[in-house]
Amino acid sequence: MRKLFLKGFIFISITFSAVAVIIRLSTIEPFRSLIAGWTASEDFMGGSGMLPHFERARESDGSTRLIIGDSIANQLFSALQENNPETDILTANAALMITGQYLLADEYLKSHPDATDIYLVMHPLTLTRTFDTEWSYRYAVMTYVETDTIGSLDQNTLETMEDVYGAIFMRKEIVSLIEDSPVCRKLCLSYINTNKEDYVQQSPFEITDQYVRKLYDLCTEHHVTLHIYPSPVSEYYRDTIPDLAEEYENTWMSVQFPEYFDQILFYPEEWSEDMSHFSGEHMQREKLNEIIRNAYGQDAMGGLRLE
């Protein structure tokens, strides 16, 4: 029997060595594409696209204003960057989470000592996001680890992330492997999606409240003014908003930013196919500018040039 187990051990060792070689090859072209095809991981070849935001935030470009926020904010503002060199527009998406917005602002302030204003533009539902098993790992956690910013988060947040995703998936070498190898990304994300559970917040704004407060304190420390605005909201959510507004009253944010829910601009359902992002003719620049003026006034975001 020892002979069988010894042979079995050798067999398994050889096989796993072969697997390790294949995984290593899956991080370098041309094997990356080939192995992705064999393992049906083509959909996992792209990254989250968040790293460039942090790279830009770290560039000392002399800008004095920062706009951050979710994908609706991105749709509204990102194309205006060229006309507004004094403002860094680093809008991302909701999956980066408020924790990611905080880290982005933190990096910006480190390399922009003359900054005066930070504008955070988020949809009310984005403020209720939690660490989920579908999006947050790839957009938020992986980004924080790869940009070496994760250490700036609170200990309780780190512990929450470890509970949800597993401590091993927050190690830099593992995250790098997942980033570079589509097959590892597929296995990891599928594992998390199948075997883990979302973090259940104690209140709808638990995580957001904590990190908006941190962001406010950070801005205060750097003599920067923090502004929080809602993204425009589809009429589809008209009935949901009052309940959220009521919950909002129990947060720290409501003291510092009491007018958040009052500033919401509601738009007709037909303007959006997914009830979040603008579609059809309302994706045109002119329409978006009109929406910005209606939502945030003529001097939106400290006088952003819209043309």
């Binding site: 029997m1 067999f11 096989t15 294949i22 393992t39 049906a40 296995l187 999606n193």
Partner: protein, 494 residues
């Protein structure tokens, strides 16, 4: 607790540990360890299953002991009571409470195994097992408890009583069976399952030709799925030193429906033959009664599978067998049997000569004739599989209607619906694997063992290279499927 089945990662860790401890223990205590391992394996699926299993073990254990101790008339009453309560339990869980959380996994298999044991004791073929733990292992033996093969008491109980010594050759064969089982299930059956489901879930959107293609693929799927499961069960048992009979013998090489049932799910068909067909009278009570007994046996088979559409499937096979019998009798009248030289002619495989030395009542097949009979048999079997796979009788009729009246072969190829929701590359890979399985079956049909050929004729380096490549292929396919809902073994649902 994490549910364990043959295709779970947990099982790959569980089995070596069980084997190691099994052979470390003295032979007289091995059954105790197997009892614990079998309970852990079975109850990891749902602890409530313990009720159904305990009921079956308790009733058949005591019934067998009482049967040995009492007089003839009372023995029949005890046997009748025991069979009745267990059949009632089967009907309750499999038909009336189908799909409920209380329906114990594998009851269709272990209940037959236990009832077979009691009948064997009644018939004097075996002595009753006094050790309740050992008997419990017989019923709940983890390689076979969920989906068979159904073990005869005369085969498994003596091995449990004697204990097993480690046999390196047997363990190697067991490993080969395990690898084969996983390849059949994961590389072929699971890939085909998606395509067949695509067709059967959307019959109105596909031409009849595509549905016919899907039905053909289902025949391959169910064979690879079930033969794969059996290979895993047999391989696991062999690793523990147990001998098990084969459950499949190249079924699609059958030249008749009768031949098919000597090759497909052999443990169930032989159980039905010995415990249903023969007690009904078999072929001893005249031609009309023989056909009646056949039909009843196949009806029971349909009910055992779960009633509904399975009854239609059973009736079809009953009708096939009856028609086959009638055809054979007419053929015998026309061509009385003679003994011929086998030069240049192929025998009907699996036949044993009768007392006068005739094979299959003198039937020999040329290669062309054999292929023709295999094709006809396959078509008949696959027609019945249509009903087996469909969700309902109406669903089956709808698919059949589209195959017959909405064929559109050119449309299928032009629009690519033959891909059944997948890519051409995937289909080519699967078909390549299916051809490989076919070639292996050809060798098995010629009584050549692949494992023995590999061991005797292939250098160890090449042999290991082949095994490692096959294992990597398995891992590759598992990665491809990871993240999708896992497919259970088809016969786990029975």
């Amino acid at each position: 607790m994490c549910a364990m089945s043959f295709n779970s990662i947990l099982y790959i860790l569980f089995l070596p540990i069980v084997i190691w401890i099994h052979f470390t223990l003295p032979r007289r205590y091995q059954y105790i360890w197997l009892f614990a391992a079998s309970l852990l394996f079975y109850l990891s699926n749902d602890i409530r299953y313990v009720f159904g299993l305990s009921f079956c073990i308790a009733t058949t254990y005591f019934a067998a002991i009482l049967i040995e101790k009492t007089k003839l008339f009372n023995r029949k009453i005890i046997l009748g009571l025991c069979i009745s309560v267990n059949v009632f339990a089967l009907i309750l869980f499999r038909l009336l409470w189908k799909g409920s959380a209380f329906a114990p996994l594998g009851i269709s298999f272990y209940a037959l195994q236990a009832m077979g044991y009691v009948i064997d004791v009644f018939r004097g073929k075996t002595v009753s097992e006094k050790n309740v733990i050992r008997y419990a292992v017989y019923v709940a033996f983890f390689p076979t408890v969920i989906s068979g093969p159904i073990q005869r008491s005369t085969v498994l109980l003596p091995q449990l009583r004697n204990g097993r010594s480690f046999d390196y050759g047997k363990a190697r064969i067991g490993l080969y069976h395990l690898l084969s089982g996983y390849l059949l299930k994961i590389v072929i059956a699971d890939q085909l399952a998606g395509k067949v489901s695509f067709a059967y879930n959307n019959p109105d959107t596909l031409p009849g030709a595509a549905l016919l293609w899907a039905t053909f693929l289902y025949a391959i799927q169910i064979y690879c799925d079930f033969a794969g499961y059996s290979a895993l069960a047999i391989g696991s048992a062999e690793m523990l030193g147990f001998d098990m009979d084969a459950n499949f013998r190249q079924p699609y090489f059958a030249v008749s429906i009768k031949d098919f049932w000597g090759r497909w799910h052999i443990s169930l068909s032989s159980w039905l033959r010995d415990y249903v067909y023969i007690p009904l009278g078999g072929s001893r009570k005249g031609k009309l009664r023989t056909q009646f007994n056949l039909m009843v046996t196949f009806l029971v088979s349909g009910l055992w599978h779960g009633g509904g559409n399975y009854i239609v499937w059973g009736i079809l096979h009953g009708a096939y067998n009856i028609a086959g019998n009638i055809r054979r009798q007419l053929s015998l009248k026309r061509n009385p049997p003679v003994m011929k030289s086998a030069a240049g002619l192929m025998k009907d495989s699996g036949d044993r000569p009768d007392r006068k030395g005739r094979l299959n009542q003198g039937r020999y097949y040329t290669v062309v004739s054999r292929i023709f009979h295999m094709a006809v048999t396959f078509v008949l079997v696959d027609f019945a599989w249509l009903f087996f796979r469909a969700d309902s009788f109406e669903h089956a009729l709808n698919i059949l209607k589209r195959i017959l009246f909405d064929f559109h072969f050119k449309e299928m190829t032009f629009y690519g619906s033959y891909l059944l929701g997948g890519t051409r590359a995937e289909l080519v890979c699967i078909l390549f694997c299916v051809i490989a399985v076919f070639l292996v079956d050809v060798l098995h049909e010629k009584n050549k063992s692949i494992e023995k050929m590999m061991k005797d004729k292939v250098p160890i380096v090449i042999r290991w290279t082949v095994y490692i490549i096959l294992t990597l292929l398995l891992i590759l396919v598992m990665i491809r499927n990871y993240g999708q809902a896992a497919t259970t073994f088809i016969y786990e649902t029975f």
